[in-house]
Amino acid sequence: MSNNLNIIEVHNLKKSYNDGETQTLALDNVSFTVRKGEFLAIMGPSGSGKSTLLHVLGLLDDATSGDYIFDGKKTSSYSGNELAALRNKKIGFVFQAFNLLARTSVLENVKLPLIYSDIPEHEWDMRARTAIEAVGLSHRLEHQPSELSGGERQRVAIARSLINDPDIIFADEPTGNLDSKSGKNVMSIIQKLNEENGKTIILITHETSTADHAERIIHLLDGVIDRDEKVKNRLTTSDEYVK
């Protein structure tokens, strides 16, 4: 059933939280697969379990039961340090709150994942500059996050997620803190990463307009997959990308 074309396979995934006496089931028997190079959006109202699902898929959290096969191997077989190495090499994260280090330049922020990698140090600078170039911020190398606009900050975060050349990028509400123009700009960069660089993208959002950049949408409701459908009128990158 496992297949080399799938980067993610999830079978009967359950995640429950013990809140004192009550047990909350955040994910209930979730099963799906994600192809390599696919652009998937996960939608749902708050409390639907979409963030929990992203955390499990992003190897930040364990499932209570069920199987998660990432890149052909069950994740339950990895040790804590191996999971950290996988997050470092194969996964890029883009968060709603950007999560850049304050008082640290754009260049240093983008390099942050490299200090935990085994990439030789003489490549770091070139890699960071290339990634920053890809999000159109070459003129902001030495700026600090506080000197940047929200859209620029999120582009720095995207550059950081690209630095280790990961297979898959998880974007958790990447436009949630942005105005619509910056949001569209960020989304077209993400879409380009998928279309031109072949990165698998998993996007969490509650906005249909954002989700429409993806090829496919999984709708979650109360921890269960409600619908899993192709996007009919997919948005294109085209004119929205402004340098």
């Binding site: 090499k89 999560n99 640290t104 942050l112 994942p113 935990y116």
Partner: protein, 413 residues
Amino acid sequence: MLSNRHLFKTATTGLSTNRSRTFLTIFGIVIGITAIMLVVSLGAGAQALILGQVQGLGTNTIAIIPGREPTGPSDVSSLYSDSLKEKDLTALENKANVPWLKLIMPTVISADSASFGSNAYQVNIFGATEIIADIFDMHLDSGSFWDQDDVLSRNSVVVLGSKVAQHLFDTENPIGQKIKVKSVNLKVVGVLAPTGGGSLFNFDNMIILPYTTTQSYILGTKYFNRIIIQSVTDDKVAVTADDIDRTLRESHNITDPTKDDFTVQTQQDLANRLSTITTSLTWFLVAVASIALFVGGVGIMNIMLVAVTERTREIGLRKALGATNGDILKQFLLEAVMLTVIGGLVGIFLGTLLAFIIALGLSKGLGVNWQFVFPWSGAILGVTVSAVIGLVFGGYPARKASKKSPIEALRYE
């Protein structure tokens, strides 16, 4: 894998983001280490001063004290305070008994009032032989020392300490005058140069006269308070001390050494005893100063816990980007150790500076022969202890940081 260089860089960045807090946190450690350095340095200086003076007497010097050393509170050592007599002197002077003896000097010590005309002054009376001037390296301001004939003939001659001369005679010339002690008239033949306040042996308040005169006319006793002996060389001190023991036991008809009615004390014994006292005093003060260091350590722990909570988001981010628990642990541990070691180094510098200033003040201001001692043991102890404090008090917060779940950390607002 986080390289050491980047670990260091990360920790430095962590510390430099909140400079004033970092500075205040370090301050506690600085005070603790400064106090320890100061105590160790001053302790070493005091020890050098005391031992220097003891050794100034000559390390070949041996003292015989009447009575045995008290072994407990009920042991009355003063019971035998009259045990050293003229016949012991004769026995010890016999080369067959103590072959390596170079010189021997009996002494009697007392205190009384001395007067000249209407002036009176409380003085320490030191009865000895003429060789006292050599043994204690005495210098005369005026006159000359009495000699062996004065000792043998029990002549009423006296040498005055500088303060005694000043109080009794003021500006008058004391040489040739007669002072009165216990209605005995003593002719002043010499006045000593001042010895100064910093010396272990202060002769300024003393009058020095032949022990025979002191015994016969002033005290009316026949025993000695001390017998001072010097062996020919330093390496004969132990043999000579044993010879003295044997000779005196024979002279006193003692067979059981635990019943000795005298104590033989070498300069080495005295030096050892004094350095034991100064060393234990120093370490006692170090222990007191360590309390400040401990409080500083608790401050470090407190501030590191605050930092870990404040930086929950950063920890989560680093974990999401591939940092292992070990990487996070090392980062926070290094931050704590850097805080304490920087504090330690500053403390060593400040403590040394203060000790140097105090040494300078004592030697220049008070005329004490005080040497500044750089406390190597204190410095090494200071750095080690501060690093250990960083590890111990930083350990718990760092562990707490490393155990944070990345999602809890990222969710933290």
